[in-house]
């Protein structure tokens, strides 16, 4: 038994969510044609098809690039602190790819580990994620190598599958998803959208983890990552990268304490107050990113910190990113590339 919705009705529904004061985030065409997840002002901006993946991720919905955590004021010699309430605005993410949604259960571990991040949790509770199952993929997609796939349901509240003639099959995954489409769909027993196999498997995460455990000091890190320029195009657009920095911004009257995205690829990320930097060269920073995603996080939380979306590789100005790095590592592990 399938339920379907016509594309026009879906777009009307998006406008209805906006009219109700909800924040709606979806893929839009920005600037010179780049597709980015961004807040929608109207359903007409929404681009649901015709591209593989946006150049960024949906993490902004739950973990904004800049978030005020409290404000302060100077009153003579006194400092007055004021809490900032977490943002609980209802948010609907529409048109996310399954690899984006799958990052959310992975991020939940980190933000509810020894400290429960009320800002993250408030946004997470207020967010409903509607994914579109993938019917196309490119050479940088590798969801199937990390245990996901074109219609993986992890993190989705509802999933849309493109059916012929302008229809979408709607599969509710959670209660939130059921509630969102309640009364909006039409039963269509004859429609059952087939799911594509997705990209061929490109590496084995067990092999990778074994390599990472045994080759911390390998020269392969230097050889493979030599071209890395140390920007944050990979981490900032990654659905699972979650590092942040806390800074004060203000003037003589007061200001705010703010949580901003940070990246392990920046040289300054690990600089100690003494000036010493334990990760002095870029290869060590690249090693950290890969180790964190494929060994440290799985050891700690039982989940790989990567959903195979390929965004880092597509964005990398020097064609590195997780996929190309791991393929090179897999080749070294097989012995088909010699380490200098």
């Amino acid at each position: 038994m399938s339920d379907v919705i016509a594309k026009d009705d879906l777009l009307r529904l998006v406008d209805q969510w906006l009219a109700e004061g909800k924040r709606v985030l979806g893929p839009v065409k920005a600037g010179d044609g780049v597709i980015l997840y961004a807040p929608l002002a109207a359903s007409s901006q929404l681009v649901l098809e015709g591209f593989v993946h946006a150049a960024n991720s949906i993490k902004e919905a739950v973990f904004p690039r800049s978030e005020t955590i409290y404000t302060y004021k100077f009153n003579g010699h006194e400092i007055e602190l004021s809490d900032v309430d977490p943002d609980s605005t209802q948010c609907i993410v529409i048109g996310a790819r399954p690899c984006d949604a799958a990052s959310l259960p992975v991020l939940d571990h980190l933000f509810n580990w020894d400290y429960k991040d009320k800002f993250y949790n408030a946004r997470r509770a207020a967010t409903t994620v509607v994914t579109v199952a993938c019917s196309e993929y490119d050479d940088n997609c590798f969801c199937t190598s990390v245990g996901l796939g074109p219609a993986a349901e992890q993190g989705s509240d509802a999933m849309l599958l493109k059916a012929p003639d302008g229809w979408y099959e709607v599969r509710a995954v959670t209660d939130k998803g059921t509630a969102l489409f309640n009364g909006k769909t039409t039963p269509a027993p004859e429609i059952k959208v087939p799911i594509s196999d997705g990209p061929a498997k490109k590496f084995d995460t067990v092999d990778i983890e074994t390599f990472l455990k045994n080759n911390y000091e390998s020269d392969a890190w230097r050889d493979i990552t030599m071209r890395c320029l140390g920007c944050g195009a990979c981490a900032y657009n990654c659905p699972t990268c979650h590092c942040f920095d806390i800074v004060d911004e203000g003037d003589a009257a007061g200001g705010r304490r703010v949580k901003n995205w940070d990246s392990c690829q920046f040289g300054q990320f690990t600089v100690h107050a003494s000036g010493h930097n334990p990760r002095a060269v870029q290869a060590q920073r690249q090693r950290q990113r890969i180790q964190h995603k494929f060994r440290i996080y799985p050891e700690k939380f039982g989940a790989i910190l990567c959903t195979g979306c390929g965004t880092c590789t597509r964005n990398c100005p020097v064609s590195l990113g997780v996929l190309n790095t791991l393929e090179a590592i897999a080749a070294v592990a097989r012995g088909s590339i010699e380490v200098k």
Binding site: S66, M226, L229, A233, Y236, N237, P317, S319, L320, A328
Partner: protein
């Protein structure tokens, strides 16, 4: 052409003239060509050359990890070579400390699908490098083989800027606010830039903070204005920042605005001529402004 390029590099490594060749490789056909660092003669077959070799490899010669490899040979297009000219004028390397392999751009990258960011090539004046130790290939017939250092502000190069400048200041500000609202401060623009070689960027100064690190409109405007000002009279228009930006921000327009101002005020185009003293970084007792005397 590729055979000649590989042969040249192989010979340089075999003879020990250089320790490393900074060139382009392409590990699989689905990838964009990317920087490679060849240290052994037998690895020179990894080198490729095609019209998608956008990366400006001059960005690597000031980096400590690359310097540690020893004397480099660097493969440059005409536009990249302009960056080397500026870097040399700014004393970032000595000319006998590197070997420059020029490659002529024999064809233009196809514009449009899959390659939307090659705007610079359409108005390029330096399709053949001019100061290289060796230059491989010949620029396509009909293109200007040797760049002119004369300054013409009516250039096709500035067509997009000229069009943009017809807008009112309020419209332009609205445009930049919208463009820069997408910036997440990943600093890809900074890292790919050969001119951004500071050991510590002003935006990373945090004791005290000079520029808000937040990716808010205020923080983003502050970063992009600071970046652009530091590029005035130095940016060679290689457009790597624009290509690298994941958010598709039109940094080219901002860079061009400064380049055009410098051309108009000083008849100077960064990196076009080795002998012309750089606008930023040269000093004259005959300067018409008193404050500098």
């Amino acid at each position: 052409m590729i055979d000649q390029l590989r042969q040249t590099c192989r010979k340089l490594l075999e003879e020990g003239a250089v320790k490393v060749v900074i060139g382009y490789g392409q590990d699989k056909p689905s990838m964009m060509p990317h920087p490679v660092f060849i240290t052994k003669p037998e690895e020179c077959d990894r080198l490729v050359w095609n019209d998608l070799c956008f990366a400006n490899l001059a960005a690597y010669i000031t980096r400590k990890e690359i310097k540690a490899l020893g004397k480099p040979a660097v493969i440059v297009k005409g536009c990249d070579e302009r960056a080397l000219v500026v870097l040399e004028q700014e004393s970032q390397f000595t000319r006998d400390g590197i070997y420059v392999i020029g490659v002529a751009c024999t064809s233009l990258p196809a514009s449009g699908v899959g390659n939307p960011r090659a705007a610079k090539c359409a108005s390029c004046a330096v399709r053949t490098p001019r100061y290289a130790d060796v230059t491989i290939g010949e620029a396509a017939v009909g293109s200007s083989a040797v760049g002119s250092s004369s300054c013409s502000t009516a250039d096709a190069e500035f067509a997009q800027l000229d069009e943009f400048m017809k807008k009112t200041p309020a419209e332009r500000f609205a445009y930049w606010k919208a463009e820069l609202s997408r910036c997440v401060k990943c600093y890809a623009c900074r890292e790919v830039c050969p001119m951004c070689y500071c050991n510590r960027c002003i935006v990373d100064k945090n004791r005290p903070t000079a520029i808000d690190t937040s990716a808010t409109i205020k923080g983003n405007l502050a970063w992009h204005i600071a970046r652009a000002f530091h590029q005035a009279g130095r940016c060679v228009g290689c457009d790597e920042c624009t290509r690298a930006c994941p958010a598709g921000i039109n940094l080219r327009l901002l860079n061009q605005s400064l380049a055009k101002s410098v051309e108009r005020a000083f008849a100077y185009k960064a990196g076009m001529d080795k002998e012309t003293p750089p606008v930023i970084g040269s000093y004259s007792l005959e300067d018409k402004e008193n404050f500098i005397q």
